[in-house]
């Protein structure tokens, strides 16, 4: 069995709104698969249908080769879930929380081992309500591991965390990958998808607009380079006919196709444009891929 998750022609309507529109994907065993999309793209809807929490309007989800609608207990035994914006029981300790969830399953993984894996040893006997946001999310991931699941669903595991806490959660997820777990995660942070995922699907308005490894996506849809000039006269620079992507305060972001184009920009900016204070150049990333494909920024959709 190569594909442990198979989503076929999935559609979900909420009244008139089409949240997921004829979406199909297959996820291989042992893969970290990331759903990248802005708020309201349909990530949670899709994932929660896979987890059996929501019912599709049409289409189907197969887990381990078997159609799953939430009923089958033997499939529930084999999946681990972290819902979006999950909060656990306030007055249970980390250990008690994990023990609580573990009691529901036949298959169990040693709780101390999970605590060590998620780097929660120090917090073992702390009440959940006293943990920081990052630790809470790590407990959330730990909670999804108590049954030693074959598939782990993580819905926006790092939203709202500061960069350091985010790295902590990433480290935890990478350890799962090393253990050969299949991970389906959603995010609206392109760094997260780039950093963690073997394969990324960009989802927009309920449809997958592109799918592949970060490299593939960038070479297919994210050609060229981004040049950002800080501390410059943006009004003047904007009139030079460059491919301007963003103007913010006194910085301007441009897109060029070849590295060679950069020298032209620099000399023109210095000669005709009163110069600049500093500059950044980088290869296109998933942000540009998303922009190229949808005409919108990932951030733009970020309402939180």
């Amino acid at each position: 069995m190569k594909h442990v998750i198979e989503i076929r022609n999935l559609t979900k309507h909420y009244g008139d709104l089409i949240a997921v529109n004829d979406l199909s994907i297959s996820i291989k065993k042992g893969e970290i698969f990331a759903f990248l999309g802005p708020n309201g793209a349909g990530k949670t809807t899709t994932v929660e249908i896979c987890e059996g929490i929501r019912k599709p309007t049409s289409g189907s989800v197969h887990l381990f080769g078997e159609e799953f609608s939430g009923k089958s207990k033997s499939i529930r035994e084999r999946i681990g879930v972290l819902p979006q914006e999950y909060r656990s029981f306030e007055r249970l300790t980390v250990y008690e929380t994990l023990k609580y969830y573990a009691s529901f399953y036949q298959r169990n993984r040693n709780i101390d081992e999970i605590i060590a894996l998620m780097d929660l040893n120090d917090k073992r006997n702390d009440l959940y309500m006293n943990l920081s946001g990052g630790l809470k999310q790590r407990v959330g991931v730990a909670m999804a591991l108590v049954n030693d699941p074959d598939i782990v669903f993580l819905d926006e595991p790092t939203t709202g965390l500061d960069p350091r806490a985010r790295r902590g959660v990433w480290k935890a997820i990478q350890k799962l990958k090393e253990e050969g777990k299949t991970i389906f995660l959603t995010t609206h942070y392109m760094e997260e998808a780039e950093h963690l995922a073997d394969r990324v699907a960009i989802i927009h308005n309920g449809r997958i607009v592109a799918e592949g490894s970060t490299h593939e996506l960038i070479s297919r849809h994210g050609d060229g380079y981004t040049v950002k000039l800080h501390g410059c006269d943006t009004g003047k620079m904007g009139s030079f006919g460059w491919d301007v992507r963003e103007v913010k305060d006194n910085s301007i972001t441009l897109h060029v196709l070849k590295p060679g184009d950069i020298t032209g920009i620099l000399s023109k900016a210095i000669k005709d444009g009163k110069g600049f204070e500093s500059m950044e150049v980088r290869r296109a990333n998933l942000e540009e891929v998303f922009l190229n494909l949808t005409g919108e920024t990932l951030e733009g959709g970020d309402a939180h």
Partner: protein, 366 residues
């Protein structure tokens, strides 16, 4: 001091206050509800229909006349003259009764012709209802006095006497203790269930649980065990305080257990039904208040139903808490097993219906 800042902050508070329906409920609807409820309850003092049971052992025209003079101000029900008085009033849970002894007519007639005869008219009253007893006492005493005036111009021919219906002396606290158990089980079960359900829904705990092999029914059973446990802890504490501090004699029997358990189920079921429609934690408060407060005041927790106007008494009879209170009083205080059984049967049925409905309406997923 910057007035603009103060005004801005004040306006922001007004806006947020107005937008949070729960707080508005507490600030406005709650006092209004209290005013209306208490107003209705105490206004009723003037025109309550008080029932007096009368056993006419004389069965003469004169005794009938006496009964009709009482009937002007009381609702009279009759006790057959061939039953044993004490047994009858305890079996039927009668709280105020009067016996017209045999020889009533003879005494009245001979007294009016100048004899020295006199006769005790004994009124039996339930001491837990002191406020009502006062009214009955006044009416019966007044009627007797009127008759004495008519017969002899004032000599006490018909002498007023009084005894307690039960052998024991009951006080208000005897009436109150079962009511405290009732409201405690009600509020903890309803609020506990609503808060748990709305919180767990919001936090994603219910969604998370739905992806585990733990079933909704297993969850419900464990929650009910828990609510029942909490209800018994409260009941136990209330009884201990009642016994130790107020020296209440409490009867502990199977009815008590069945009623408290049924109450926990009935009110948790009610909580489940409510949380089905309440989406936010803030509204949970007002929804809980909306079902608990009317019951608290109308179901005979603080005042006997007889003190209220009849229409409020009718409302009480559709409130589950009324049967809990009455059943607990019959079982724990009065030792009235017939009444306890009747109320237990009703609350048990209500519990079954509310719990099953609540359980069916509770969903973890969409």
């Amino acid at each position: 001091m910057r007035p603009v800042a103060i005004i801005t902050d004040f306006m922001a508070n007004v806006k947020m206050w107005y937008r949070s329906k729960g707080t508005v409920f507490w600030a406005i609807a709650f006092p209004v509800l209290l005013m209306l409820l208490f107003g209705a309850i105490f206004q009723g003092q003037d025109d309550v229909t008080i029932t007096l049971y009368v056993q006419d052992m004389d069965n003469t025209d004169t005794s009938e006349m006496f009964i009709s003079s009482l009937e002007e101000r009381l609702k009279i029900e009759s006790i057959p003259d061939d039953v044993e008085f004490d047994g009858y009033i305890s079996d039927n849970n009668i709280r105020a009764a009067l016996v017209i002894p045999q020889g009533f007519e003879n005494t009245v007639q001979s007294a009016s012709m100048g004899s020295n005869d006199s006769l005790y008219i004994i009124l039996s009253l339930d001491p837990t209802r002191e406020s009502i007893n006062g009214m009955i006492r006044g009416i019966v005493g007044g009627t007797l006095q009127g008759w004495n005036m008519d017969i002899t111009g004032g000599r006490n021919v018909l002498i007023y006497g009084e005894e307690s219906i039960t052998a024991r002396e009951f006080k208000f606290i005897d009436f109150f203790l079962p009511g405290v158990i009732g409201i405690t089980v009600m509020t903890s079960s309803i609020y506990g269930t609503i808060f748990r359900n709305t919180k767990y829904k919001k936090w994603g705990i219910l969604r998370k649980l739905s992806t585990t092999p733990f079933s909704r029914w297993e969850y419900l059973v464990s929650k009910m065990l828990f609510m029942t446990f909490v209800s018994f802890v409260s009941t136990f504490v209330i009884i201990i305080v009642g016994v130790v501090v107020w020296d209440i004699r409490v009867i502990i029997n199977a009815y008590l257990f069945v009623i408290v358990t049924s109450a926990a189920f009935a009110f948790s079921g009610m909580g489940m039904l409510i949380s089905r429609f309440v989406k936010e934690e803030e509204t949970a408060d007002s929804a809980g208040g909306a079902v608990t407060f009317p019951q608290m005041f109308l179901a005979g927790t603080f005042f006997p139903l007889e003190m209220m106007p009849a229409y409020l008494g009718q409302i009480a009879r559709v409130l589950p808490l009324y049967y809990v209170n009455e059943g607990l009083r019959d079982a724990m205080i009065h030792g009235n097993n017939t009444g306890a059984m009747y109320n237990t049967a009703i609350i048990f049925t209500i519990a079954a219906v509310l719990f099953v409905l609540g359980a069916l309406m509770t969903t973890w997923t969409e």
